[in-house]
């Protein structure tokens, strides 16, 4: 990432530069008087809220990791346990409009119509369908694609959503102003506005779990191992192995969002 503090990188006229150079000591003196604790970013950054070192034996280093997830829709049975686990783990509101992950059922009819349904995200299962005239039907789990080129981060006017060094897109709930730009920008419909905090919410890959060497709650809860979570840049990870052995696609590749959630042997109807 570039340096966010706009320092004087532009070429300036010599007169102005001389003037600034002369007035700099004055400005610094005033600044030091007005501000007892100057915003010295380099000092405050690495350990912003201390106190976690004695508890954790091995410090988590985000630059050693780069996470991704693969989904095998061929294994998904649409039981909705991932949605249930996600809502429990992350305190997602129980109303049927708020989901960090959800399961869709695609039903391709012989007449060319394809319908997509996700009643309450799939938590309570799916209602029976009439099989007459159905060509094929299958389940597709959806979640935030943790794009490497995320449109939601690009549009945030305040820098409240961002990509961590380990490739996860997070929301800063204390800094989010609730303008909903990111919700509009996300082509996967993966974000929503939390009804209580009025800030944007999304899947975090269970960031609080993965930094403790646990897998995300949805991966933990999937009874058929339809979701594989792991390191994208390590050849020996279960994720890399899965991606070597399967035909891998991403959702909406034409949008150049570069998702880090991959789908194996995806049906052409999935959008």
């Amino acid at each position: 990432m570039s340096d966010p503090l706009p320092t004087d990188t532009h070429p300036v006229q010599t007169d102005r530069r001389t003037f600034l150079r002369k007035s700099l000591p004055v400005a610094l003196a005033v600044a030091s008087m007005a501000e007892a604790d100057p915003p010295d970013a380099t000092k405050a950054a690495p350990e912003p809220q201390g106190g976690s070192e004695p508890d954790q034996p091995r410090r988590y280093n985000p630059s050693e990791h780069y996470y991704g997830m693969a989904v095998d829709p061929g294994l998904c049975i649409g039981c909705g346990r991932c949605v249930e686990a996600c809502k429990t783990e992350n305190d997602v509101p129980r109303e049927p409009f708020y989901f960090r992950t959800w399961v869709e059922r695609y039903t391709a009819q012989a007449d060319g119509e394809t319908t997509v349904a996700s009643p309450n995200g799939g938590i309570g299962g799916f209602p029976p369908i009439k099989e007459a005239g159905v060509l094929r039907t299958f389940f597709v789990p959806k979640l935030c694609n943790q794009c490497a080129n995320p449109p939601c981060v690009q549009v945030c006017p305040v820098g409240a959503t961002f990509t961590t060094p380990d490739g996860v897109v997070l929301v800063d709930h204390e800094y989010c102003i609730g303008c909903r730009y990111c919700i509009q920008a996300c082509p996967y419909g993966a974000r929503f506005l939390h009804p209580v905090t009025r800030t944007a919410e999304k899947c975090t890959f269970c960031y609080h779990r993965i930094v403790k060497d646990l897998v995300p709650a949805c991966v933990e809860a999937c009874p058929t191992q339809a979701r594989i979570f792991g390191e994208l840049r390590h050849r020996s990870s279960p994720l890399s192995r899965f991606m070597r052995f399967n035909n891998i696609q991403v959702l909406k590749p034409h949008l150049n969002t570069k998702p880090n959630v991959f789908y194996a042997n995806l049906d052409g109807e999935v959008r």
């Binding site: 005033v30 950054a45 690495p46 029976p128 099989e131 809860a221 009874p223």
Partner: protein
């Protein structure tokens, strides 16, 4: 120094000082430390409480059940899928107890019949499968037994069996056309039955020269649409369909 320069210096000094003060007041601490965001936000996300303890946490205290589970067909189903989040239970085992879903509605979430589920996944119709009886009264949830081998093909291929049973081909056994290994009943996807590949297979009965009962409809295989195989036009499970 001329007076106007002094005034300008003071004016610019105040403006710059105001700017610096405003920046330090408005921009949060740690903003920009890593990227264009508040670095401390990562810590507030990380501070979220873990509720699912993970599949490795249970075996330490429940080794017998864990051993039973990993040897059975539910080996890929983590304990917390059915018993709920267990991080609190790991911390204070006697105060925060977990429950088990013993009611009938729970198991069909995975095992109720749905055409979208992968073929071979064990499924039942909850409306007709021993109605009202809790699943756990017959099935051991930690190590469910191998389902009894289906006796007839129709147990799994119901719609084909029903169509076939009212067709002109009703008396032809499935295995006459599909050579089926025993293992297909246990691992249906790993041992698939064969299908006829030659026109001559249908010709055994339907060719003009075939030595079959004369009620069977006949064609001259040599001239009857020689560019196609039979099942491209005729549905063998219901051949009279037009």
């Amino acid at each position: 120094m001329p007076q106007q320069v002094t005034r300008l210096v003071v004016l610019f000094g105040v403006m710059i000082a105001g700017l610096v003060a405003a920046r330090s007041w408005l921009i949060p601490k740690t903003f920009g430390a890593i990227g264009h965001y508040r670095a401390a936000a990562i810590d507030s996300v990380t501070a979220t409480k873990v509720k699912y303890a993970g599949h490795e946490a249970c075996a330490a205290c429940h080794p017998d059940v864990a051993a039973l589970r990993v040897a059975g067909r539910h080996k890929s189903v983590a304990c917390e899928v059915c018993h709920g989040p267990g991080a609190e239970h790991v911390e204070s085992p006697s105060e925060k107890r977990l429950s088990a879903p013993r009611q009938r509605g729970y198991c069909p979430l995975c095992h109720g019949y749905d055409p979208g589920r992968p073929s071979g996944f064990p499924q039942i119709d909850p409306a007709t499968h021993n109605p009202m009886r809790p699943c756990v009264s017959c099935h051991q949830a930690h190590a469910p037994e191998t389902p009894r081998e289906p006796e007839a093909c129709g147990a799994c291929h119901g719609s084909i069996a029903r169509t076939h049973s009212v067709s002109n081909h009703a008396l032809i056994a499935c295995v006459r056309c599909h050579q089926t290994d025993k293992r297909h009943k246990v691992t249906p996807l790993l041992s698939r039955p064969t299908k006829p590949t030659q026109r001559a297979f249908c010709g055994q009965c339907h060719d003009r020269e075939a030595s079959s009962p004369k009620e069977i409809s006949r064609v001259d295989l040599a001239t009857h649409e020689p560019n196609y195989v039979c099942w491209q036009c005729h549905y063998p499970h219901f051949p009279e369909a037009k």
